[in-house]
Assembly symmetry: C2
Homo-oligomer: 238 residues x 2
């Protein structure tokens, strides 16, 4: 079986499908990153979120609210405004929670080695209960304070996406050069060594340390002879 | 090179080292899970946390507070009491945050295939800013409300650890039986198929869907010819 050809066919099939997300399109802040990955034959993305601030209402009665007993009062991929949150909170009749969720990217890789270049750190966010059975549990001053924090995280997240894009682009370029002069085993060693040393020299500026490969059953097709592996990228800790 | 022997040697070396965590021992609620994994030749754990409620103080001045500009005002692996939180909050002079962190387990695997049995879902927690420059931003009633939520998450997390233990034990037993009657490729297919079908039949009760393998540079030794791979287990979403 030619795995490369099969991966190519699978990629084409997935990318030709309609975007089934609520929004129906890729978030502006990750368009370049998604294009960079999809432009390389060894990768394709299956889902992405640039990062968002959401206000959820978790209902007491499952039939009253949408999607797993939970409805979205507010979603924004941009810094949010206090008044929007205050207005949205008035619609809460259950337990409303404000969340910040950073970048998430699901990437399918042709083979294990292709996942070596992807820099990953653990998730980080904000998750604050605000109402209980529709009753606001905090002051407006606190909401203001909270929104400032969420917006700061959003800004920081955006910077990290840019940094990640630059690191990835650099790693992909380096890999292309390496491919022409090193046998496969050597490339892996070289990449590992490069990241390890980078981290030791300047841990703050290292592109990342974790590499995650997932057999994500939700994103996989039903074919057990799966022609690739799945990578989930989480941004660095704050 | 005999990879199995090398992995065995590496495992023995890691497990013989002193526990360098703040606590210095494995959390009570994951002792059985850690023992189950370490008792199998294809795995060993490098770090674990059963789940905890922590109160952090993030200082404005880096020199005033410990460990990355952040000090721990309270840590508990058991449900926590309001008065303890109130007392601890009085010590805050920066931005205090209450967090719930669910089970985290780092597992080294001998080979890629060994990671197939590990059920993984994304992280989930609670992260609530409570003070700003030492000033309390919420009411005592809210703190009470929040502690109830954190304690509920702690309880739910404990149930999930038990469920994960049972699923893992079941999968390991099944694998041992399969190993004697199927060639390697077949085992992998069989496991995948079993998980996928289970999920479709009863998504609520499925053991898990995600399998994560990490090249965790912090946990790895410096040997580039690494005799294993690393798996990070996160509990299911709430």
């Amino acid at each position: 079986m030619d795995r490369s050809a099969e991966f190519r066919r699978w990629k084409a099939q997935c990318l030709s499908k309609a975007d089934l997300s609520r929004k129906g399109s890729v978030d502006e802040d990750v368009v370049e990153l998604v294009q960079l990955l999809n432009g390389r034959e060894q990768f394709f993305t299956t889902s992405s979120c640039a990062g968002r601030i959401i206000l959820l209402d978790r209902g007491i009665n499952g039939s009253e609210v949408q999607k797993q007993n939970c409805c979205w009062l507010l979603v924004t991929h941009k810094p949010c405004v206090k008044d929007d949150v205050i207005v949205a909170l008035k619609k809460a009749n259950g337990d409303a929670i404000l969340k910040f969720e950073p970048l998430v990217l699901h990437v399918q890789c042709r083979q294990l080695q292709d996942a070596q270049i992807l820099a990953v750190r653990s998730t980080h966010g904000l998750e604050v209960p605000l109402t209980h059975k529709g009753k606001l549990m905090v002051t407006e001053e606190y909401i203001n304070f909270l929104i400032k924090i969420a917006n700061q995280k959003m800004e920081e997240n955006k910077k990290r996406i840019e940094r990640f894009y630059n690191c990835l682009q650099h790693a992909l370029e380096k890999e292309t050069i390496s491919m022409t002069s090193y046998p496969k085993e050597k490339i892996k060693e070289k990449n590992n060594s490069s990241y390890t040393h980078k981290k030791k020299r300047n841990p703050e500026k290292a592109c990342g340390k974790y590499i995650t490969e997932e057999n994500n059953k939700e994103l996989e097709n039903d074919d057990h002879d799966d022609p690739g592996i799945s990578v989930t990228i989480f941004p660095e800790d704050y």
